[in-house]
Structure formats: C-alpha cells, structure tokens
Symmetry: C2
Subunit: 337 residues, 2 copies
C-alpha cells in the first residue's frame, strides 16, 4: 500500500499502537514533545529530522538562517507544552559539496538561536551524507507538572486562541520560489525589497517562548496547546483529534498581517488559504476554559478565533454570513453552499 | 577548506567551543550522551541520524534488522555512560519508493529492540524524503550520579578493558559486500551459510546493557567508558583525547572470535586490521583503576587489553615481540620497525 493512501497520522497511530501496550513511561508520549519523568519538574524531549529538498531549499536559504530555524522548530515544540527549553542535541549529515565554512555558517545560526532562546547545545555529531544536508535535532525542556500543556486537554466550550498571525511564512516562501523561477529562466537577480516582513517570517521565524511569560504573569493555564508548523487547518485538526473534540473557527477572526494580505493580492493568492494551509508559522494555538474569558479578553499578543465543540459536531470554519465550511488538512471545501 | 583536511573531531571541537562559554547545563556534555539534570538521578540524552547509503545498505539489510540496529546504537550510547536506557524518540524520513509494509517492517525491528532493551518509544515522526531513508533517533537514560561513566575519567595506570570481541561485524559486512558484488556481476544468489556468527554481529548486534549488571553486581565503577562503533582504534583514541591520556594496548590481548579469524583467513584479510578498524561492534571499552585488578581478573565477559599512560607517552599497540606501533584512527603504521 502506498503511504499516501493511509495518511501519515493514521500510519503513525498504527505504528505507535504496537508500542503503547508495553510502555512504562508515565506522563505523556506522542504529543508535541514527550514528558519523560514523573518528578516535580518533568523533562520534555522532542526530536525531528530536516532534509534538504523537503524541508529546506539551500538555493534561497542561507545556512545561517537554516541553523537558526531548525533550533526554532525544536524550541517551539517544547514551548508548545508550556515548558522552558533548556538543551538541544544536533546530528548533521553533510555531503562533500559542503566545506568547513558552510558548516560553520550552519552552526553560527544554531549558536545565535541558542543564545536567543537561552538553550545549551549539549551534543553534536557530524556524519557524511551522499545526498545533501540532513539535520537531526532534539530539544529538552522542563516544566512543573501543573504547568504542562498537552494536545489532549481541549474541552467543550473552551476558547480557541492563536498568537501572532498566520500565513506570512508561506507567502515569504512563495516570493522566494517566484524569484528562484525567474532567476532560473532568465538569470534576473531576485528582487526581495519590500517583502521584509514575509521573508523574515519564512527565513528567520521566532519560537513564541515569550507567550509562556504571558501565561505565567496572568495566571493562565491553557487546557491544550500546539504550535503551528503544518498550517493552522492541519494543526487544529490534529489538536481536535488528540482531544477527541470538534471546533468552530470564525473565518474573520483568523489573524493575518497586512503585509501578508498585500503579498497575496500582488500574487493573486487567497490570503485565507495561505493562513489555513501555509506552514512554518511557529505561532502557538491553544485553548482556554471559557470561565477565563474575562481574564484573557484584554490581553494582547493573541486572538480568540473560535471555540471547542463536542467531537460529534465536527470541525468547521464559520463565515461572516454564518455558513459553515468543513476544515480539511489540505485545502478546504464548502459543505453548506 | 574541505572537511577532510581538518577532520571531523577537530571541526566538532571548534564548533562546540562557540557554545561552551555560555552553557548553563551542568554535569556533562559532548560525551557519549549528555547528562542534563543535576538531580540525584540525572537524565542522559543521546541523538544520531542514520542515512541510507552511508550507514546502511538496504540491498542486504532487511528493514526489520535496520530498525533493531538503530535502536541498538542509541541504547549502546546510553549504556556506555553506565546508565539505564529508558526511552527513545524516532524521526524517519522515507522516500516514495517505500510503502506502508516497508515502514511497518522498520518499526517491527524498532519494537523488537524496545522490548529487548526495556525502552519505550515516546515520540515518532514521519516525513517525506527525496533520497531514500533517513532515521533520526534519540535515546534517554538514567543513572544515579555516582554511577555515571564518561569518556573523560581515564587515569594513568588504569586498566583498559573490552567486552566481548571485535572485528566480527566488519567481517560480516565484507561477506555481505562480496555476495552483493557477485550477485550484481552474474546474478548468483548470495551464499550466506556458514557465516552466521559474523552476519549476526553485523545485522543484529546487541547493546551490552548486560555489562551494567556485571559492574553493579561486582561493585565496579569504570573510571571511563565508551562503546565501540567507529572501530577500536578510533574509539580508544577518542577516549584518550577526552581523558588527556596515552595508552598501551597489547596486540595479542585484543579479543577476536574464532569465527572472525576463519572469515579473515578465507577472505585473505588481516584479522587485527578488522578488529582495530572495523566498526559497529557495540562492545564496551572501559578503564578500571589498577587497584581493582584483583576484583576484575576473575570475572568473565570482558578482557584486560592494556593500560592508560600519561598523555606524553602517546597511544601505541605493543606486539608480542615488544615493538610499539602507533595507533591511528584509520589503518595503523609501525614506527619502531
């Protein structure tokens, strides 16, 4: 059977089931990160590999930015559990087309991100590769048990919130891809002036560990949380599936930056599609119990975009006219007209 | 500069130096694994990526064996710190040439190894790949602080010991490579009968977590330890470098299985070269203070093969005739005749 027929998450569920029966690890596994110690301050560990040609294109991604972004990705997964990132481990596979100065650039970006996020690189491996660059990264973080947020905790009527805005990183990628195609067809140098915001979001994104302070300062404990890396639609569906819940998202509440709208208009691209399906936003998507509404409505840095429903009510976008559109992981289609 | 000019470990040292000044992580970093919590039972984390064509050849490596071996590698690194492996995290990149049943075979091996070593899979990611299979793995383990062994602790006159025997996995690989070449040149089916031992060591190696029980039962605390994955020569040099020490290894004391000798003779390959430079042995190489000699000399499962010297005395093999041969990471050359 082809993997696309079964789908990644269903395949993973099947694979994981073969392990879960025997597990001794206590708190939480197969979430954004895994919680591995039932002490007062459990450790979270998350891990990912990044492959050239799949996750990044070195034609327009400087190695320094790549290093920074890979750390951002790992740190973001720890932050999505409301935990403080502390350490990272890196394993890089590099083919002979990379020289020492290339590797140093990669690590310059890794180092800058470590300094920015206050994390330590504690292990570092290099290996040969036949086919370009592969970077494996693991991050470790810590949280008091009562602060931990998982993807499984969303309850009916909880408010769905999102930090920052979405879709900008995706439109930054569209600009880079367009300029690459033009360069490859006629040698015209890329024109990147005027796209600073979306390019910054694509090439130098930030993990939202600042939101952890917002939560702590205001006594907010999200009932569930994830970060947006696959796209808002895919990630909200993943969270709903993990929490066995449905959702209603108000289309007009989804935060999209004016710079993103401008690039969408220029490129004749639907901004809502970019916001829903574009990945790499690294924003936090979280739910808060409805009784916290008074507490959160005056806070800045995030928006309330909808609410959790019973699982039987499905996952839908609500248009300003009150129509409901089923949320799909890739693309979205109207079911009500 | 080409990476081969500077060498992997020197490049890593340079890269790591840029991080070490700022580190807050307390106990031990950049060892076989990293020790990340200064509690009574610190956690160790290690991480690696495995790339098709570099670390494994799927022509003769069944995916199930690959899954098992990758877990063995990660568990072995934790065992090399005298710590109990507890959890693993897996991230696999797979190209479209692999189907669901292939992935299930890979995970069947991962699952078998988890059961064997008593570790839990706590995170599991799949991603697309353009170029074959890549598997990133992270292992987490635990040890009481007083039991932790690092690569840095070898002291002058400590006895150098090695578990099991070395070179068999390498000769298993030579058999597989020979049969592959014959098959590719004239279609003759591989003849693998009679090579069980070396093939088992290559395709289904075991991490030596049983040695941890030997240490615990006999009250032995190695002063330093590592596992043999790059080859005895490379790994002893790495341990000496980390401990700022020299070493003398008695050539005739290096344990080589009779099955390995037989394959070497058949293939006209020098057994000592296989033992020194062949990788993937997953045996433990450790040092023990000389005052423990009485305690360890009667124990089975490992051999004393030499002793640690002052760094100024270099790293040498000693032949039965008393000649000294400088140990090199790849190959070895006589300096005394």
């Amino acid at each position: 059977m082809d993997i696309s027929e079964i789908g990644k998450f269903a395949l993973l569920d099947g694979l994981n089931a073969g392990f879960e029966a025997r597990q001794q690890t206590t708190i939480k596994t197969f979430d954004n990160a895994s919680v591995i110690a039932a002490s007062n301050k459990p450790k979270q560990v998350c891990s990912a590999v990044f492959l050239e040609g799949i996750h990044f294109n070195l034609v327009y991604t400087p190695l320094k930015h790549l290093g920074h972004k890979i750390v951002t990705h790992a740190v973001s997964k720890i932050a999505a559990m409301n935990a403080i990132p502390q350490q990272i481990l890196v394993s890089a596979g590099v083919s002979s087309r990379f020289n020492v100065s290339d590797i140093e650039s990669l690590y310059e970006g890794i180092n800058a991100a470590c300094a920015e996020y206050g994390v330590d690189l504690v292990e570092n491996n290099l290996t040969a590769s036949l086919t370009g660059m592969t970077v494996g990264i693991t991050a470790v973080g810590e949280a008091a048990e009562e602060n931990l947020c998982c993807m499984t905790g969303a309850g009916t009527n909880d408010l769905v919130c999102i930090s920052g805005n979405v879709g900008a990183a995706y439109m930054g990628l569209q600009v880079l891809e367009r300029e690459r195609r033009i360069f490859e067809s006629n040698g015209t140098q890329p024109k990147l002036d005027g796209y600073n915001y979306v390019l910054q979001k694509q090439l130098h994104p930030q993990a939202r560990i600042d939101m952890l302070k917002t939560f702590a300062d205001n006594g907010i404990k999200p009932s569930s949380m994830t970060d947006i890396t696959d796209g808002l639609a895919s990630d909200i569906l993943h969270l709903c599936r993990k929490s066995n819940a449905g959702v209603r998202i108000y289309l007009e509440k989804i935060p999209i930056a004016s710079e993103t709208f401008a690039v969408c208009e220029e490129m004749n691209f639907d901004a809502v599609t970019a916001a829903l399906n574009g990945g790499d936003d690294f924003e936090l998507l979280f739910t808060v119990p409805i009784y916290e509404h008074e507490k959160i409505k005056s806070l800045s840095g995030f928006e309330i975009i909808g609410y959790i429903t019973d699982n039987s009510q499905g996952a839908y976008l609500v248009t300003p006219e009150g129509n409901e559109i089923k949320i799909k992981a890739q693309g979205w289609t109207s079911v009500t007209g």
